[in-house]
Symmetry: none
């Protein structure tokens, strides 16, 4: 029944439209579809993948939301300029964001321990002060250069499970979502500029006193419970945080 054309694995638990989306994303990133004007029409894709229109449209619609393509009514679907002004206020892990732009990242876990929540962490994670929480420190690399130090706090139970995961290659966000079934919702960010102290300087291979982008991020599940509290220290010279925000109407 299911014509497995073009390497779509229909028995996979991953939705068809997601598989197609990933295939198309790959083709955009590797240049099969060049910027501007490209992309086969919906009916071409229907024939190529042997799926229905609704599936193709959902895949293309998702890519459009991610900013990789845009559509013009009556003309077709086009590949966006790789300009990278994507990530419109989208909550992404570092690895996710880089991977979606075609970069490879690596993390090095420098510590993973349990400690007692202080007042701030208890408040943020909505646990009692003194309760045990997990702290994970990772240095993240992009093209072998250190980019950031991530200090992550999660509830004890989550931390225990994460201890068994391959944090060097996988994003915590993706593990939480795909493996643990958490549905991530909003996040609160707080951004400021600081100077590198000796520890940061050593880990990120910059001079002491170099500019550091310090981001505090509290991530909530879809039902608004805090799940993940992080301090991210980005090298100021190597990373820019881009986002798109809207003027609040409503």
């Amino acid at each position: 029944m299911k014509p497995d054309k073009d390497s779509v694995i229909s028995m996979s638990p991953v939705p068809l439209y997601t598989q197609i989306k990933e295939i198309l994303r790959e083709r955009i990133l590797n240049g099969t579809y060049q910027a501007h004007e490209q992309m086969p029409s919906e009916s071409d894709l229907i024939k190529a993948f042997g799926v229905s229109r609704i599936t193709v449209r959902q895949a293309l619609g998702d890519l459009q939301k991610e900013g990789l393509v845009f559509k013009i009514h009556g003309k077709g679907t086009y590949v966006s300029k790789p300009k990278a002004f994507q990530s419109l206020a989208k909550l992404q892990g570092f690895g996710e964001a880089m991977a979606s732009m075609g970069y490879e990242t690596l993390s090095r876990v420098i510590s993973h321990k349990e400690l007692l929540a202080d007042k701030v962490i208890a408040l943020k994670l909505d646990v009692a002060e003194g309760e045990v929480v997990a702290e994970i420190r990772r240095v993240r690399y992009l093209n072998r250069s250190p980019i950031s130090l991530d200090v992550t706090y999660v509830p004890k139970s989550v931390g225990e499970r994460l201890a068994k995961e391959d944090l060097a290659h996988r994003d915590i966000f993706l593990i939480l979502e795909n493996d643990y079934g958490y549905s991530l919702g909003q996040a609160e960010l707080q951004i400021e500029a600081v100077l590198a102290d000796d520890i940061l300087a050593r880990l990120l291979q910059v001079e002491e006193g170099a500019p550091i982008l310090r981001i505090e991020r509290l991530t909530f599940t879809a039902d608004n419970r805090p799940l993940d509290y992080e301090y991210l220290y980005y090298r100021g010279d190597a990373f820019q945080y881009r986002l798109r925000i809207e003027r609040g109407h409503l």
Copy 2:
């Protein structure tokens, strides 16, 4: 054939799912559907509006993207906590943001001139390279302490009008919206950490080499034309940029 139940105007040029989305949004805002657990099921909405499931799902999906509702597979669709949390990544000027927190701000215009757009500015403001644009430099104070240097680029015509305004006490955003009738839409932000050079150090009364939060902001009107391009240099020790973002699902 089209059962115009519940005031859906089927002959309108507005898509059905958009009409339904607006009706549901209205009900969420006016409290017909209260926070958490509410929202009729999809089949209820199908019967109530007399439309197909795909239409209801598109309406709910859009509302989910806007953050007003969230879904739980197998359980239902829920209204997100409204109020305060709704201001996810709201675009506002510095003065606005501070005023809403009860602080008073003051700006000092240190220069206001016209110049020829270089390549970057021309690209951002979507004008021809070499075209005349206005540049406004302001130092912003909070409690008599300098907080930021704002370098603003706007088209020549807007700059000429702004020259007559009281920029010391009024936000450019508010002038554009309230006096000039522009409707502001999205903005693209780019945030990075830099070190203060001698000019910044003098203007912001910090040491040379102090951490500076550098924000590049391109603001669009509601119909997506670039209107205002700014570089904002915030003192790292005196300001934090807070926002709330969402995880893009669907």
